[in-house]
């Protein structure tokens, strides 16, 4: 598992949690996602601890469940890799010391058991993005003319 820090891939990714379920929208691809259970915990740790690496995230998530780290770290790593493939998380450019990775509420009575996290993917909005691509331009890049284009 690569030991590089991760962050939510904002601003192209927006997300909201409702009733314990996370809905994630990738504005660039038009895909959106649903994550529940352990997946929602993983997402929560990632978004609350930008710069934490996969091992630190797994350790924080494991503390929320009645499972030892070595029993869940592989599945958490695979889930993080899936998030990265879908461009929902990105590696931080420079490693950020994550001295206080969000722990949330640790399991106290074993009531929560870890289940394989699942990223449910919906693609039915893709056409809107493909047909109507959106470009958000900051003040430095637009409306100024590109250097290689003569301004008329």
């Amino acid at each position: 598992m690569k030991r590089s820090g991760l962050r939510v891939n904002a601003p192209q990714v927006i997300h909201e949690t409702i009733d314990g379920e996370v809905i994630i929208i990738n504005l660039a691809t038009g895909n959106y996602y649903s994550v529940k259970g352990a997946g929602a915990d993983i997402w929560d740790v990632v978004q609350a601890s930008p710069g934490a690496d996969a091992h630190e995230i797994a350790a924080a998530v494991a503390r929320r469940f009645d499972n030892p780290l070595d029993a869940v770290e592989g599945e958490i790593g695979r889930f993080l890799e899936e998030l990265r493939r879908e461009e929902l998380v990105a590696e931080v450019d420079q490693a950020v010391p994550s001295t206080s990775v969000a722990n949330g509420v640790a399991a106290t009575d074993g009531a929560r058991s870890f289940e394989t996290p699942v990223l449910e993917k919906y693609t039915d909005m893709q056409d809107l993005v493909l047909l109507d691509p959106v470009h958000e331009v900051d003040a430095a890049g637009w409306p100024h003319a590109r250097p290689d284009v003569a301004t008329t």
Partner: protein, 373 residues
């Protein structure tokens, strides 16, 4: 510079208000006239001004049911409408060199304004021969003061039918958000006591459900875009007096056939009906929102029926659709939708072959929610 070439390079002065005003005032001077229409929109007064009477007519048609009998003293928002044919120079436009998709949208904001530019296509006859509905380039600007808006197109004759049916969507979305409201990609029907928003992606049946209310005892507040205030008791506000329906759904609502605005273009356009012209008594300015409703076309079912859904289901049906349709790219949009589905219940409305049963089911749902409120 022609309107067609203007979008190929960045123009100095883009992002500034003075060139916009200069372009508009030049068009007014060239036309020697400016026409105005005042409408009451979402509890505020909006003035549409244009030196181009036909452009004003095209864009004002969907707002006609909200038009005031007397001019407003000082409108809350004034929107200036003009095109390259109106005279004067076009306003400064952005650099869009690397983009070709006609639907591409360029968004920009600074301390003075928010701007969105829809790339569209040139008016080249060869392009129009292949894409007869190719939209004209369009620039929407809202000043940060929230008091003035600007809407320029290259050629008002090529404002597409969907823009005429629901004009100024981006500009009004920004303006409404600044006023604590939220534009939703949704339909809405109800009674004076309360109503529902109908949510889902295009083709989900929300227009069928909304327009079926015209043949029943429900009021109509829109089928595509509506505004909601996010107070403790959310309120629906009607924006547009139009409706759009996929061509293959028109036959399910035969009473609409004689009212279609574009019956000769159904091969390439959605069916458009101006409800405010044909059923003016059925249009409402709004009502208290009682529920979020997710229409679902259900093969094999006859009579429409409903059942309660989770807030997550309501959120998932409403948020992605609104975000992608409105090009609203902020986390705040999701927060507002979450607040909405936490304040009112969500229901799935299964649509069967008996269209007349749809408004009855909605009416029953409203009564059920109202009784529990």
């Amino acid at each position: 510079m022609t309107a067609a070439s203007a979008v190929r390079s960045a123009d100095l002065g883009f992002g500034e208000l003075e060139p916009l005003a200069a372009s508009f005032e030049a068009a007014v001077r060239a036309a020697s006239v400016v026409e105005e229409r005042d409408v009451r929109l979402a509890d505020a007064t909006v003035r549409l001004r244009s030196p181009h009477p036909e452009m004003l007519r095209r864009l004002g048609r969907a707002f006609a049911h909200l038009e005031l009998d007397e001019p407003a003293g000082q409108p809350d928002l004034t929107v200036n409408l003009w095109d390259a044919e109106s005279g004067g120079s076009p306003p400064p436009l952005p650099n869009t060199e690397d983009e070709e998709a006609p639907g591409a949208f360029f968004y920009f904001s600074n301390h003075q304004l928010r701007a969105g530019f829809q790339l569209g296509t040139s008016g080249d006859a060869r392009v129009l021969a292949v894409y007869p509905n190719a939209p004209t380039p369009a620039l929407s600007v809202l000043e940060t003061s929230n008091a003035r808006g600007w809407y320029w197109v290259a050629d008002a004759r090529r404002i597409p039918y969907w823009e005429q049916a629901t004009p100024l969507v981006y500009l009004l979305d920004w303006w409404l958000r600044a006023r604590g409201m939220h534009m939703l990609h949704a339909g809405a029907v109800g009674t004076d006591e309360g109503g529902v928003v109908l949510v889902g992606k295009s083709g989900s049946g929300k227009s069928t459900a909304a327009l079926s209310s015209l043949d029943a005892d429900l009021f109509y507040a829109g089928d595509d875009y509506i505004a909601v205030s996010l107070d403790t008791q959310p309120q629906v506000h009607c924006l547009y007096g139009s409706g759009k329906l996929m061509q293959n759904h028109v036959e399910r609502l035969p009473f609409l056939l004689d009212a279609l605005a574009n019956r000769d273009h159904l091969a390439i356009e959605k069916a458009v009906v101006y409800v405010n012209e044909h059923w003016p008594a059925k249009i409402t300015a709004g009502f208290p929102l009682r529920a979020v409703v997710l229409p679902r076309i259900t093969p094999g079912l006859v009579e429409a029926r409903y059942f309660e859904a989770s807030p997550v289901a309501g959120f998932t049906a409403l948020a992605p659709s609104t975000v992608f349709q409105m090009h609203t790219r902020g986390q705040d949009s999701l927060v507002r939708v979450r607040r909405l589905v936490e304040r009112v219940p969500s229901y799935v409305l299964e649509l069967g072959s008996d269209i007349a049963s749809i408004p009855h089911a909605i009416r029953d749902l409203i009564a059920t929610v109202g009784a529990g409120a």
